[in-house]
Amino acid sequence: MISMTLLGVLGMLSLFVLLALRMPVALSMLGVGFVGTIIANANRLIFTGMDSDMAWARGLRIAYSNLSGEAFEAASNYNLLVVPMFILMGSLAGVSGMSKDLFTAAYRWMGHLKGGLASATIAACAGFAALSGSSLASAVTMGRVALPEMKRYGYGDSLATGSVAAGGTLGFLIPPSAGMIIYAVLTEQSIFRLFMAGVFPGIILTILFIIAINLVVMRNPQSGPPGERSGWPERLEALGSAGPILGVVLITIGGMYTGFFTPVEASSVGALLTFLVALWRRSLTWSTLKSVILQTMNATATIFLIIIAAFVFIPFIALTGLPAQLVTLLTSLPIGEIGILVIIILIYILLGMFLETIAMLVLTIPVVIPIAVALEWELIWFGIIVVIALEKGLISPPVGMNVFIVKSIAPQVPMGTIFRGIWPFWFSMSLMIVLLVIFPQIALYLPETLANR
């Protein structure tokens, strides 16, 4: 017989070995979860006095049942309907050139300021984030539009690439967000409340990014020279062109906020409206439509297989009691709640240097959520902290995914230059976390107000 805690530790170690050997994250979790469930249940039954052969047979049956049952449970989860719908909405927004309209509008209003193009990129990223739940999609789409413009106006490479990489991360925080959906499903929180909790932090982080740009430009004015000043008619025209997109955002997010739509309904209405806007803009060809369908199905595959795997893996880890042991260990340390939170955030930052964001989210949830529950942290608030910590991973060296995306759009810019441009935004995110710790209401105000209505 093996101790359950040791089994949990061995399970986690096996998982990391499989990940290091490049087994897909979902398959690693499925494999460890399946084998672990057999051993953990057999172990438990032998401990209660059952005959060894019978206990192993029972353990195998439970694991078989989990494997198929949890897979079907995840694939038929009504709340997860928002996944393909919001991905579809983001893909349609990406291929239809709406991102260009958003950037043009932000540029006409802010481009004449010092660092204005970089600020316009951040503002447009925030707008695009409200249509797309993916950081990478935001970085790719806005990068293709904004980087050539910033180059044209002689922006410093580090500020230009840094602002695109950082602006892209807003896609993960501003609803709809793929990360929030996964967090909500795995922690049994309301997707709607989590989305609402992301609104103010998303807006404040956008402002912090713009302040960071201003500080950079104050220190080094050559890095962000002002662009041409647009007249009022041009500004209003650009705002008009971005109107349909802003309308879709208002109807989708506003519909959820007012309780007019549930998140599932809002996602489908948003996808349909984005499709209609794309049709109206005549940007849908057979080729773009093909690309939208394949991108949507592809991203759906990524998210669902990982959720299915998490549904198999999380019960195994819970069964071993490892999370409970960790809770006991952490709470016995003389560091207080803030100390524990700092440790968790540091671990996220460390893991973010090597792991892909969604993988990191799914892998850490079974361990960190019991800690948050034991310390009676509000899981919605903690979700926003986790999402921002994950965002930092997206731009942290050496494998910040958004940095690689920006590098693929601007191959002539050295990685070191891009990472140099990241730091002001990285510190802005840290400041945002500090603000959320001091003022949890930034995240909780909207969900609590709406729940009390």
Partner: protein, 180 residues
């Protein structure tokens, strides 16, 4: 100089075309149906006419299972299932190749078991009359659909192993905008 991409065996090229077209036609139809049906039910039937479609949730649930089942094999060929490859550059070429073959073999066994169990659960669902709540749509066929999907992923892993043994490299199916 960068290595040239190895040529793709004809059978994998054929699989890619079949997967792409099945995903485009059936996946596209399912996405379109789900979007329009859910939006119309929400905005027009429920809000405007105060007469929501009875059992809409049941239909959307089975449509979601179909979308998930259709997406998994495509994701297997495009490399959508996330791998952590930051250690690959520190591995010798031989270790990288053979460890990948072992990992894919393990993945194949796991997926084969999962497909078998899903198929088995499909049979049980049919025997015990498991259905959706309102429209009583039987779950059995959707278990079978997921089983076929997972089995297709297992077949893709076998073909990956074949590619690795043949040329030391797996050539993925590329779709436009795959970087998203």
């Amino acid at each position: 100089m960068e290595d040239a991409e190895p040529t793709l065996p004809a059978v994998i090229g054929l699989l890619d075309r079949v997967l792409t077209w099945i995903t485009l036609i059936l996946g596209g139809a399912a996405l379109a149906f789900m979007t329009v049906y859910c939006a119309v039910n929400a905005a027009i039937m429920r809000k405007a006419l105060n007469s929501p479609i009875i059992g809409a949730e049941d239909i959307l649930i089975v449509a979601l299972v179909a979308i998930v089942a259709l997406s998994i094999p495509l994701g297997a060929r495009t490399g959508a299932h996330i791998e952590i490859d930051f250690l690959e550059s520190r591995m010798s070429a031989a270790f990288a190749k053979w460890s990948m073959i072992v990992v894919k073999c393990a993945g194949f066994v796991l997926l084969a078991i999962m497909a078998w169990r899903l198929w088995h659960s499909g049979g049980s669902a049919a025997r015990f009359g498991e259905t959706t709540q309102l429209l009583l749509i039987p779950y059995g066929p959707f278990y079978y659909l997921l089983a076929v999907s997972v089995a297709s992923y297992a077949v893709v892993l076998l073909l990956d192993i074949w590619q690795l043994l043949r040329s030391g490299k797996v050539v993925r199916l590329k779709i436009a905008g795959n970087d998203l």
